[in-house]
């Protein structure tokens, strides 16, 4: 089955800090699962038939898989740097393909129109040239040297700056974004999008951040990211076709879409097709 390749991946299934609240019932790729803590406080994930699934806890979240993951979950070395604050933004459900949610996260061109006056503003709509590659050793998609003018790039930014970005896709439904850190110009802020596929056209999105920002309150940091993501949500729910097309069909990508093109190519190469449309309709 084409989905097998994705069955063996790790997916976020809940916040570790919320395990104490009791059993959390959710789903993974169409299968109902329960996330809970055992007597030692360790995370346990089971299917409703009682099958015990692989578990690990990283980046504040519980991760699991319906299959047998052949490799460890990706790491984010920057997240271990001392002095960072970790922001658990919380879950938001979106009626869209999990792959669509990741692809939208990789796009810069929509900033002035969807995140107006925050991540972009007219007339600064140009996406300058940037570099995209599929790194063979890491087996990840990377976009680097991405630059964009932003009126309010982060909660800690005062006034407009040209922000530099790097995007990384280390797993089919996860993306890590490195972004200019206004209070510490030599470091990158880390902003992630962890997507839990509930079905091919339904997902739970768990944004998470590791920031250098000692000024802003935790609630403000959460609300900043929720604002951005909820501006995307209504767009994501209206994208047609609902599944991510891996066959170009009627779509014509432009240079600004290079990251998306590489992401789709990488998905296709690995048979990561849960949530994808294989033949243009």
């Amino acid at each position: 089955m084409a989905e097998n390749a994705m069955l063996n991946q790790w997916y976020p299934v809940g916040l570790f800090s919320h395990l104490a609240k009791g059993v959390y019932k959710t789903a993974l790729m169409g299968e109902k699962i329960a996330v809970s803590a055992d007597a030692n406080g360790d995370a346990v994930v089971t299917t409703c038939a009682g099958r015990i699934l692989p578990v690990l806890v990283r980046f504040g979240h519980v991760w699991s898989s319906l299959g047998e993951p052949t490799k460890d979950l990706f790491s984010i070395p920057e997240a271990d740097q001392p002095g960072r604050r970790f922001v658990e933004v919380g879950v938001v459900r979106v009626r869209c393909s999990p792959l669509r949610a990741v692809e939208n996260f990789l796009d810069i061109a929509h900033f002035p129109f969807v995140h107006t006056d925050i991540l972009g503003a007219e007339p600064h709509t140009e996406v300058q040239n940037y570099k995209v590659e599929i790194r063979d050793v890491e087996d990840e998609v990377w976009a680097t040297q991405v630059k964009f003018y932003q009126p309010q790039a982060a909660k800690s930014a005062s006034g407009g700056i040209t922000t530099e970005y790097m995007y990384r896709v280390p797993s089919p439904t996860c993306s890590v974004l490195y972004k200019t850190c206004p209070p510490r110009p030599t470091e990158w802020d880390v902003i992630t999008l962890f997507v839990q596929p509930l079905a091919e056209d339904l997902c739970d999105v768990w944004p998470w951040m590791a920031l250098f920002d000692d000024e802003t309150s935790m609630t403000d940091l959460i609300h900043f990211q929720q604002t951005i993501f909820l501006q995307d949500r209504s767009i994501l729910e209206n994208q047609i076709p609902h599944l991510l097309p891996l066959d170009p069909g009627m779509e014509i990508p432009t240079r600004a879409d290079m990251t998306s093109v590489a992401y789709r190519r990488w998905l296709k190469r690995h048979n990561f097709t849960y949530g994808a449309q294989l033949v243009a309709q």
Binding site: L15, G90, V91, M218, T219, I222, H223, L230, Q231, R233
Partner: protein, 219 residues
Amino acid sequence: MKLYDYILSPSCYKVRLMAALTGIPLKIRPVDFHPGGEHRKAELLALNPAGSIPILEDGDLVLTESSAMLVYLSMKTAPKWLGDGTAEQAARVQQWLSFSHRLTANLGGARLHEMLHRPGDIAVLQAHGIAALRELEAGLVEQGLRGKSFLASDRPTIADIACFPYVALAPDGGVLLDPYPAIRLWSRAIRALDGFIEMPGIHRLHELKPDPSIAAGEE
């Protein structure tokens, strides 16, 4: 004036929008509603035992109902937002303020269910939401026949601000607005008001571009 606020709450947005339209500065105190559940913790429960937000504080006055906040902000600086003072308009305003609670319960409930995992019977919430939208659509059509573009008057009142957010965000809860032309025009009229502010899920109007210039003789 201090508003205990959540950026994604349509009820909080009513108050932020009203304050923006009437030029009243608010001191915003963000509440970690999701995922933190701060509105159910001791500090806020002491202010509002109902455990809901928004909460508006002004000196000794503590308000926990958004409709009361709209009245308060209007009376302070812009009484025209309450209607023209006739019995009929005052009653129409009250009619829609009460009606707006149904929108909170059904369209708001559907949105919380679909977006933030809150419990509820989604089919029932959506069905009641659609019934309320049809009632609103009929009300706006009737107002249109009277030559009036807004719910209670020929100018916007707090009734429009009370109903607008949950209606505009209905698609977040899986309820489409496509079948309601009067609601769409009304929503456009509200978004075109001077001082209008947006919230996530409610987009601003794109600036109207000038008409294309077509030289004589060109087709």
